[in-house]
């Protein structure tokens, strides 16, 4: 078990900077997920921690030791790959015990450790099989077993669920979380799937273009995104973003979305937004904070009428889409609210949850 620290880590491939000097501190026993679109540098970062890629600049510290020049085998880490990377000519038992056999661990110890790991993952009866006789989910379990058996300081996962079908992916996600709660090894997990990131992580690291956009708990990222990128990336359906003007009104500040829709800025935010009065900004509000009209429960709820364009029933809720200032906006209403396409409908926005984003910097104000 160990702490992993990255200091100003840079990775350059010829002319392109894949990772542009990131700082990250991962605590002992923590489950950290690196998430971002493809090409954001998350996998490269993981591979540098594993020692599979050289570091162009900066420092990586595992358990107090700088490992920049330490080969992978001496870093005491275990990695689970997207395509499993099981040794095809070995049985499950041999696959799981390979690392221990290389280290010449006593036979008895190997046996107990493999059996313990197999028990944790429920693959005890597969130990004599070859990888090609296993299903995708079973192979993924074996790959995890191979990591657990080693009892390393750090687990690294590189998009381990991407090759599984949707249902199995959800199952294995729970499985990974359960395993981590049992073995409590420091874990760094890379995925492009923000739902995986949110559900698994103690802390999520959102990366984009080789830099870290934000580090935070899933809750923090969801409710207090630091940048436009994070606001758009986290959450499904994505946060609605509409261009607006911050204007002064008789009662304080207002968000001018279009000529028919001016939303009042909640009183407790006026001081925060005052410096930006008169500016053109981006208004952000998540779909679940726009619902059918109800008895108001909070002070900053605001009713407005829209023309519904598309209705998407999800069962429990219904997503309704309408246009504001030419932009598609989605709201999440109760399934029994009677929303119909082409109908005028009154929505209630909870402005306590609004975000204002600066156009140029992409910063959330």
């Amino acid at each position: 078990m160990a702490r992993v620290t990255l200091r100003k880590v840079v990775k350059r491939y010829d002319e392109t900077l894949a990772v542009r000097g990131i700082d990250l501190d991962i605590l002992d026993k923590e489950f950290v997920v690196l998430v971002g679109p493809s090409g954001c540098g998350k996998s490269t970062t993981l591979r540098m921690i594993a020692g599979l890629e050289d570091i162009t600049d900066g420092e990586i510290i595992i358990d107090g030791e700088t490992v920049n020049d330490v080969p992978p085998k001496d870093r005491d880490i275990a990695m689970v790959f997207q395509n499993y990377a099981l040794y095809p000519h070995m049985t499950v038992y041999e696959n799981m015990s390979f690392g221990l056999r290389l280290r010449r661990a006593p036979k008895e110890e190997i046996r107990t450790r493999v059996q313990d790991a197999a028990a944790i993952l429920g693959i005890g009866e597969l130990l004599e099989r070859k990888p090609k006789q296993l299903s995708g989910g079973q192979r993924q379990r074996v790959a995890m077993g191979r990591a657990i058996v080693r009892d390393p300081k750090v687990f690294l996962f590189d998009e381990p669920l991407s090759n599984l079908d949707a249902k199995l992916r959800v199952q294995m996600r729970t499985e990974i979380k359960r395993v981590h709660q049992k073995v409590r090894t420091t874990t760094i997990y890379v995925t492009h799937d923000q739902i995986e990131a949110m559900t698994l992580a103690d802390r999520v690291v959102v990366m984009n273009g080789g830099v870290i956009e934000q580090v935070g708990t899933p809750d923090e990222l969801y409710h207090a995104p630091a940048t436009r990128f994070v606001a758009e990336f986290i959450g499904s359906p994505a946060m609605n973003l509409v261009p607006c003007h911050l204007v002064e009104t008789s009662s304080g500040l207002g968000l001018h979305l279009d000529d028919n829709l001016v939303l009042p800025v909640p009183a407790d935010r006026i001081r925060r937004y005052q410096p930006y009065a008169g500016k053109s900004l981006l208004f952000g509000l998540r779909p679940e904070y726009m619902v059918e009209r109800r008895v108001h429960t909070g002070p900053h709820q605001f009713d407005f009428e829209v023309l519904l364009e598309v209705i998407e029933p999800m069962g429990m809720d219904t997503f309704v889409h309408f246009l504001v200032n030419g932009m598609d906006v989605c709201a999440r209403v109760n399934a029994s609210a009677g929303a119909r396409a082409g109908q005028r409908f009154t929505l209630c926005a909870d402005l306590d949850h609004l975000h204002l984003i600066e156009h140029d910097s992409g910063k959330v104000l």
Partner: protein, 300 residues
């Protein structure tokens, strides 16, 4: 209504697929048959001739039938010490060449396909280019080199069977390295990365993970190296002359053709027997060759 239409379409298309398939199968078998006849005629002719006496071969009877079959040619060859010497020389040369080739080609292919270092891509192409130089262009310069070595050091290389063990790898190593680079590159990189993280060094990675997984590729290269050394004619023809130093292909031609007398029965027998070892090796290794040993390594 909808299902009815779909069912009708299904039947119609299935019928036409069946017809297409039958036609495709017919032509496949037709061309396969042509192919088989074309390639099996010479060995069959050789077998027939090898079972005949010299008298029957020169008689004006059908060349496609044996009227009084005899194993005399086989008995004579297999009890002749010169033929057995050729056989022994050929076998030694082929086995040693295969061993040397694999010892050099496997690490070379591994390095060129896996370790990125300065100039590795150029080197890989260079390896292949050397294979493109034909041996007909090389045997005279090589002869000169060997003569020079004798003058300079007093070591006689010419007319020694083991010289071929030194020369053949110049043909086999480039090609074997090249095909193994191709095969090794098809093995997912994650497999070595997993092994490296599991604690393997490069040597363990090669012997315990890489070679077992790459076995079909290695076997294909082995078959190639063996066939090349077994069937090579020009170099032994040029470099060896004494009867006890000859290998099979040259030995058969030089000892069984005396002036203008062709001992056809024995020539055919000798060639047939000489073709046996490659045949046995193909038959034995083909299973491995075809077996998809990498199946299950990754999703696929």
């Amino acid at each position: 209504m909808v299902t009815g239409t779909r069912a009708a379409v299904g039947i119609a298309s299935r019928g036409s697929i069946g017809r297409d398939r039958r036609r495709a199968l017919f032509w496949s078998y037709f061309f396969l048959a042509v192919f088989v006849i074309f390639f099996l005629t010479p060995p069959v002719y050789m077998l027939i001739t090898s079972l005949k006496t010299s008298a029957e071969i020169s008689a004006a009877t059908s060349p496609w039938w044996v009227f009084s079959p005899t194993l005399a040619n086989y008995v004579e060859l297999l009890t002749s010490s010169t033929y057995l010497t050729f056989f022994r020389n050929s076998a030694l040369v082929a086995l040693l060449v295969v061993a040397i080739t694999m010892l050099i080609s496997i690490p070379a292919a591994f390095a060129l396909s896996r370790m990125r270092f300065w100039g590795s891509a150029t080197l890989a192409t260079g390896v292949f280019l050397t294979y493109l130089i034909p041996d007909t262009l090389l045997f005279i310069p090589l002869f000169k080199i060997f003569a020079f070595v004798r003058e300079a050091t007093g070591i006689e290389l010419l007319d020694r069977w083991w010289l071929l063990v030194i020369v053949y790898p110049t043909l086999t190593i480039p090609f074997c390295t090249w095909i193994m680079i191709g095969y090794f590159s098809s093995i997912p990189k994650e497999l070595d990365e997993a092994a490296l993280i599991d604690g393997a060094g490069y040597f363990q990675l090669l012997t315990r993970i890489f070679l077992p997984v790459a076995l079909p590729g290695v076997i294909a290269a082995t078959i190639f190296a063996f066939t090349v050394s077994w069937a090579q004619f020009l170099y032994p023809m040029a470099f060896t002359t004494s009867a006890d130093q000859l290998v099979l292909p040259v030995g058969i031609v030089t000892t069984l053709i005396k002036g203008d007398v062709f001992n056809w029965g024995q020539i055919m027998t000798g060639a047939l027997l000489g073709a046996l070892p490659p045949l046995v090796i193909y038959a034995f290794l083909m299973d491995y060759y075809i077996a998809g040993l990498t199946a299950g390594a990754t999703k696929g």
